[in-house]
Every structure is written in structure tokens, then in C-alpha cells.
Symmetry: C2
Subunit: 374 residues, 2 copies
């Protein structure tokens, strides 16, 4: 098996679990958050920055990397690990979500999807088989099937069609997936329709993948709908396999996802808001461009021991962002990723010490109050 | 003395010298290049990046820092060292050059200079006394006098007036400079007129500053005119004091400056061109965005052992720049500063081993061919 998941401990009161995911590039303690490096770099970060904060697994995106720099260049580097100089584990999303977000730029049929590049307007045709082969070349430890992700809101019939196509395509991806040292994960769709979620999960579980993602959530639906969907979907997935909730990175939603039995998360949120000057702290969001911080000598977060909080003041970071200095974006990004990494570590410790329920009771209200609005 | 310069060795055949500049924040081996951190950050770099490449002394700019974030905020951090978290030595330029570059935005008289901020259009009035006090607050190890830097080309009379005003202002700066733990350096002007350079140097040397800069060069004049001006100016400066050539950072000009007896240099060139994808290598400039590097697995420079060259390929760095990824700017900046730092170290080693003349003979033609055009 290219990756191996084992559950180390289960919360007796919730679906939360502590586990580890062994890969050819290190062992990931779960639950874990995976920073997003869409174009072969976690924006503003170098490899050693991520290593410092004990990041074991990061994401790339097949769709983006296929368009730029293209497969030949990545292949010449022996794959994405070599291209981006990352010795930890990698997961590539297929790009299904990105392609379906193109709207009028794409056309879909049973064979695959035709779309126009957002970079140069060139037409491309991708099939489940081709996306799988592309990911074989990229060579991440984990590849994802090409799925069809409907928007929110979407009618039942539209979502049902997407579920059926996602199952058919998952099978085609599985058949064309040849690389023994790479795992291929399936993606459960079904929008907010419990029945369709169950159908999707059952069909995919039937095919026996080494891991299952839940896609099509965090696409604009209210958070309670996301949570109720998780509640009905996760039990359909085999307990022995790793579970990955796609596109979720808000602290409150991470905690809630863990509670419902999720092991892996990814999201651009922490890095994207950082570049807009918004940082996560033990007291909630802080918009560092706000003039109240102009002469504030405090660190971004008093409770944080990251490189940024140990060395720089809010006033300095605000100055950097106001002056258009790139170091400002580095510092806010570093801090946000460190914050999320620390939150996941706290969650794992609570699980390891059999006190997740109490941790959840304490933190749920707090995180919801601080981060629930976003 | 807040800074102390001592000459360790002199080249028997040229004016080049090996020395060290002791400051309250470390000892700088000279000749040395100082990276520019105009707004309180060397663009894209964190403090630890600069420490890794043994950078001992960096620049800030009083004019820029006065406008943004303003003195109050810097004062609250105990000065620029604290504000930017830099434990090495700092030098602040007065901003004379920047103010005089504003063109129609400024008005000058015997008292000082009135100008309009390039940031928000507000009017400001700065005198030599005020610029000195601002730099006292900023608290760099070395402050610079407010000088008048004429453009190139400029008529003799205009340059003569600037020399005279620069001398008067230097005296006013010196009188108003109160901080015992900070050195104030003078700036020699005089354009390309030997007689005016000598006049400027003599007047300033008469006032006995702890260090002397040569300003008003590298402002558009041909390089041979810059070198002949150096040749006639440097001998006017006392051998026991440190000499700083402002605005020079091209490898060929650094070598030539050392030959004429310069100890310190600063320039935005290495960092600015880096952000445009232009890197310095042992084979000359390399424009990494060029499509010939699209699939090039080599490091930026085969002869370089910097973090970037050890870990990343040209193809990857080109991809980052093409995709608008900030890491690309970090990597090219890091490499260029490392390259210049390495060149200065080579020069110091040649001086230490009494073979600068041979080193110059070998490298002068090569560096001129590679970098002389820019």
C-alpha cells in the first residue's frame, strides 16, 4: 500500500479519531490540516518555513500544474516533489473543483470535460483517465479522482447526475491508475442531499479506495447544513480508511469536522486571508491593516510562539502591508499556518489524552464566536 | 566613538584596503556591500535570511521612514533596530537623494527643503537639523548628513552651489547631532567636476567626520567618468576613516570601487533586478523568465552554494515568476544578495592574502564583460 492509515484512538463520545497516515514521504499525525500549494508553492512560503511548523503534507493542484508549467517540466524533475523541493508528503487534487468553477468556460459530457485555460485561453480536453495519468506523472503520494462538483445551491436532479458521473469517473480513474507507490482517493459528492451523499459514498466504498474525500461542501452552504451533511455522510465511510474534508480551513469548522470523524482538511483560507492582512489569533480574527494597530507593540497573538510572534510587532507588520512590502505577506501567512497547525496539534493532544469531548465543549463555543461568521 | 574603523591591510599596488568597522551592533569586515532596506525591510527578506548570508550592515532611509510609518511608531520600538527586529548594524541615509529626485515636488532654500510626500501629497519641510534629529530617533549605528545631490548632467555652477550648500548643511547636521552612540557621516558631492569634488572633500574633512560617503555618482554618468571621479576624490579623504560609495552595486563597479579605496557600498540593484527575474551568476546576468530556462534543471548558478542554488532549479524559479508566485521573488533576491556577499568576501580574501592586484587583473575584464553594460 502506498499510504497506510491506522486509527490510534477513538473518542468514546463523538466520531473523532486520532490516527496516523504513513506515506512514502513521512508519517502524518491526524487529524491534520494540509496547506495548499496550488501552483507548486504554498504562497509566500519556502520549504523550510513549512518544515519549521511541522507541516507533513501539502497540496498541489493537477489542473493548475497541467496548465503551467506543464507535465514535461515536472516529469523532468522526477515529479512535483523534486520540482518544488519538498521532501514531505504531497497530495494533488484532480482539479475537478477548479474546472467546474470555470462556468461558461467548460463543457462536460460522459467522456470528460472540455475547457478553456484561464491563463491563455487555449482549449483542453480532460478525461478521468487523462487526469489520472497526469497525476501519475506529478507523482504525489496521494492523487484524487476527477469528480463533478455541483455548485450550491443546485437542484436535486443536477446533483444526482453529478453523483452518478462522479461514480462512473471514479471507476475509470481507478482502472487507469497504474502507479503502485501512489494512492488514489475517491471523492464523495451529493451536495446537501443526504440521500445522494449516502448513494455516492456507498457506490465509491463499493469500489474500495484507500481513502475517501468529501467534496462539494464549503461551497457557500450554511455551516449547519455542512455539519448535518457530514453527520450523515461520514458513517457511510469505512472506519479503517482515512477521511478528508475538502476546502475546509476555518478553525470552528476544523473542530467540528474532527468531531464528525474527519482526518484530513485543506483550504486556501489561512493563506489567502493572510495576504489580505487578516490573521487568526487566540482572540479571533485581527485585521492588521486597521489603524488601531498602527503603534501596537504587541505580537499578532500573545499566546503564539511562532517566529513571527516572537520577533515582530503588529505595528511593524501593519507598516509592511501598508507599504506593499512582501515580507508582510510572508509574516502573516507564516503565522496563520502556524496557528492552524497549533490548533490541530491541540486537538490531537486532546484525543490522545481521551479528553476530546471536554476540549470540544470548551472550544466549540469560543471558535464559533470568533470564526463562525466566515 | 560610536563606530570605529581600522585598516588591517593595504594593497601595495592599488588604493584598495582591508579593514573592519566596529559598531554597537557587530563588526563589519570591509570592503562590504550593504543591502538596502528602504522602508525598514530588505525587500522580500526576513532578518534570518540576511543573517544566513552573513550580512552585518543594512540600510534604512530616513525620508521614507519619516513619511511612513513616522517617527512616533519607530520611537516606540526603541528605534529602527527594534522596529524591524534587526540585531546587526544599521545605517540610515538622510533621504537627500530621494528628496532631490522628487523634481517639481520640492523647493529648496538655505534653510531646508519643502516637498510633497510621494505617498499622500502632504507638504513637509525638512532642515538639516530636523533630518539629524529624525535619524537620532531612528537610532541607526550610522546616520548621514542631509546633502544636495545634483542630477547628471548638471552645469558647473549648479554643482558648485550644491557643494557649498552640502558643506553648510553638513556643519548644521554635525552641530545638531547629539547622539553619542551614533556616528554621523558626511557626503562628498561635486558631480563629475574634479575641482568641485576636491573642494567638497576638503571642506568636509576639515569638519572632521568619523566617516565619508561619496554621493552624486552612479546617477547616470558613464562608468569611466565615475571611476575617474573616484580616482581624484578618494585621495582627499583621510586614510584612517571609512569611505562609502553610495548607490553602487554592480559587480564590476564594486571591484573598481574597492580598487580606488572604497570600504562600503550600497545599492538597490541586486534586489530590484531580482524582482524582475534578473539574477547575477558566475557567468553574468541571467534573465530567468527567458523561455530557454523553461525545462532547465540547473541551479541559477553552478558555482553558487546558496540555499536557492542548492535546492531549486531554474525551471522551478522561472515557473514561480511566471505564475506570479512570491516565493520566486524571495529566491531570486536571496541569490543575488548571496552572490554580491560572496564577491565581497572573495575581494576581502584577496586583500588578506596580498593578491588583490592579481585578483583585480583576473576579474576586472571578466566582470566588465558580464556586468559592465548596466
Amino acid at each position: 500500500m502506498p499510504v497506510h492509515f491506522s486509527m490510534k484512538r477513538k473518542c468514546p463520545k463523538t466520531a473523532a479519531r486520532l490516527g496516523k497516515l504513513e506515506t512514502g514521504h513521512g508519517v502524518i499525525e491526524t487529524p491534520a490540516f494540509m496547506p495548499v500549494g496550488t501552483q507548486g508553492t504554498v504562497k509566500t512560503m519556502a520549504a523550510h518555513d513549512l518544515e519549521e511548523m511541522e507541516t507533513g503534507l501539502i497540496l498541489g493542484n493537477c489542473y493548475h500544474l497541467f496548465l503551467r508549467p506543464g507535465m514535461e517540466i515536472i516529469a523532468r524533475h522526477g515529479g512535483l516533489h523534486g520540482f518544488m523541493n519538498w521532501s514531505g508528503a504531497l497530495l494533488t487534487d484532480s482539479g475537478g473543483f477548479q474546472i467546474f468553477s470555470l462556468g461558461r468556460l467548460r463543457k462536460i459530457d460522459q467522456y470528460g470535460v472540455t475547457f478553456t485555460s484561464h491563463i491563455d485561453g487555449r482549449m483542453h480536453f480532460l478525461t478521468p483517465e487523462r487526469v489520472t495519468r497526469l497525476q501519475n506523472v506529478i507523482g504525489a503520494d496521494i492523487a484524487m479522482v476527477l469528480d463533478q462538483c455541483p455548485p450550491y445551491p443546485a437542484q436535486y436532479e443536477e446533483v444526482k447526475a453529478a453523483v452518478e458521473r462522479t461514480s462512473l469517473w471514479a471507476e475509470r480513474c481507478k482502472k487507469s491508475h497504474l502507479r503502485q507507490d501512489q494512492a488514489l482517493f475517491a471523492i464523495v459528492q451529493g451536495g446537501i442531499y443526504e440521500e445522494l451523499r449516502r448513494q455516492s459514498a456507498r457506490e465509491l466504498v463499493e469500489m474500495d479506495f484507500p481513502g475517501y474525500a468529501i467534496g462539494g461542501l464549503s461551497v457557500g452552504e450554511p455551516k449547519d447544513l455542512m455539519y448535518s451533511t457530514l453527520q450523515s455522510t461520514v458513517p457511510e465511510l469505512p472506519a479503517a480508511k482515512v477521511r478528508y474534508l475538502m476546502g475546509v480551513g476555518s478553525p470552528d469548522a476544523l473542530l467540528e469536522g474532527v468531531k464528525w470523524g474527519i482526518d484530513l482538511f485543506d483550504c486556501v483560507l489561512p493563506t489567502r486571508i493572510a495576504r489580505n492582512g487578516r490573521v487568526m489569533t487566540s482572540g479571533g480574527y485581527l485585521s492588521i491593516r486597521n489603524s488601531v494597530y498602527a503603534a501596537d507593540l504587541s505580537p499578532l497573538d500573545h499566546d503564539c510562539s511562532c517566529y513571527v510572534c516572537v520577533n515582530y510587532s503588529r505595528a511593524y507588520i501593519r507598516h509592511l502591508l501598508n507599504a506593499g512590502e512582501i515580507l508582510g505577506l510572508r509574516l502573516t501567512t507564516y503565522h496563520n499556518l502556524y496557528y492552524i497547525s497549533g490548533l490541530m496539534k491541540e486537538i490531537r493532544t486532546a484525543l490522545a489524552e481521551d479528553r476530546f469531548e471536554q476540549y470540544y465543549a470548551k472550544m466549540n463555543f469560543k471558535l464559533n464566536k470568533m470564526y463562525g461568521g466566515m
